[in-house]
Amino acid sequence: MSSTNTGEAIAPTQKTIIITRFDPDKDEVPRKQEYSVPCEDNWKVLDAVNFIKDELDATVSHRWSCRMAVCGSCGMMVNGEPKLTCKTSLKEYGDRVDIEPLANFPIVRDLVVELDGFMHKFEAVKPWIKRAKEKAEDKAALHDTKLTFSQSAEELGNFKQFSMCINCMLCYSACPVVANEPDFLGPAAIALGHRYNMDSRDEGNAERNEIFRGEGTVFSCSFANECSEVCPKNVDPAAAVNQAKFEAVIDWAKGLVLPSPSSGGSN
């Protein structure tokens, strides 16, 4: 039982938590199941789901880990909105709280969604530092961070915001383009690709911009801005996607008048 600042005990509030259930061995389609849960005043939505799992129905499946909005595991739809459940207060909602798996993702079981499609899109943008070729100073830099890989605060500031993504996938659930275009790379993957394009140590811009100019990438985005609205870490993927559009066009225009930059490298 939680308490007030004066130490006065607050009785739990009974809420009806509606969980989407899907067992691939038994259910043809997802169904709803209601649970009556005595909710403490200071509970997050995840606490209620954990209570159901621990005390009422051990068969409920959901993902969670850190409980402090870092791991990005506990994203779910709460009353129709994509939310990081460990960061969302239960008292924001009324007596009935509808908890569903993330929208736009295939459902593996109950509140657990299929991640392979997301990982595939992630990999497609080559989210790692690409060097055109291994340079002598790269080796030296491994031992002295003031050499090649050093970065000014300003250079870091160009992409730091986009590197704060925790891969919670709420942006994919909110994006109307993801819902309608299966090939769309999506907000988080493009934001990550753009993050590396903005990194002063990286030399893979030409390769990623080539990907970004392809079908189902940055130009599929209609700038609904929903991804940024639901992002729990204020990454602002909509900004990344639309900056990436600009960079991809500039890169294309440069290619018309300048010799193509070497973007090779095997790393």
Binding site: P176, M198, S222
Partner: protein, 146 residues
């Protein structure tokens, strides 16, 4: 849950070992205020399509001669046309305001040594240009200038 998510949305390149339910969206997906605003923004495309038809009709009337042009101009005084043009004006203002709000975040952090000005300055510049162009066009159409 129910609704219009594409059945292959976020599907893995190869099916997994376990059968998965197709992706879905909440039944009330359209009912959040943000999504309603976005749908309204998308719906303005219908108005611009209709504006296009009106423009084509006017161009045809112009090609047919002075009589046809006068008749077409007179038909625009119909309250239905006036209402439609009012709706078009509102939709243009709505789209412009939305575009201006989102525009600063779409700017690259720098172009060579140049950095974009702060968001409020970009906003102010966009609105100043918009108002300026509107005033000049209104004066030109009223025959005050040019």
């Amino acid at each position: 849950m129910a609704g219009p998510a594409h059945p292959h949305s976020m599907a893995p390149p190869k099916p997994g070992r376990t059968r998965a339910a197709p992706p879905q969206m909440p039944a009330s997906w359209w009912n959040t205020s943000r999504m309603r605003t976005y749908l309204l923004f998308d719906a303005t495309g219908i108005i611009y399509l209709l504006v296009g038809f009106v423009a084509i009709r006017m161009i045809r009337a112009l090609a047919e001669g002075a009589g046809a042009w006068q008749a077409a101009m007179q038909s625009l005084e119909n309250p239905i046309y006036i209402g439609f043009h009012l709706l078009s004006l509102i939709s243009v203002i709505f789209v412009a305001v939305r575009f201006f709000r989102l525009f600063p975040k779409a700017q690259p952090p720098s172009i060579g040594p140049l950095k974009p000005p702060p968001g409020p300055v970009i906003h102010a510049a966009l609105y100043a240009v918009w108002i300026g162009v509107t005033v000049v066009m209104s004066l030109a159409l009223a025959g005050v200038i040019f």
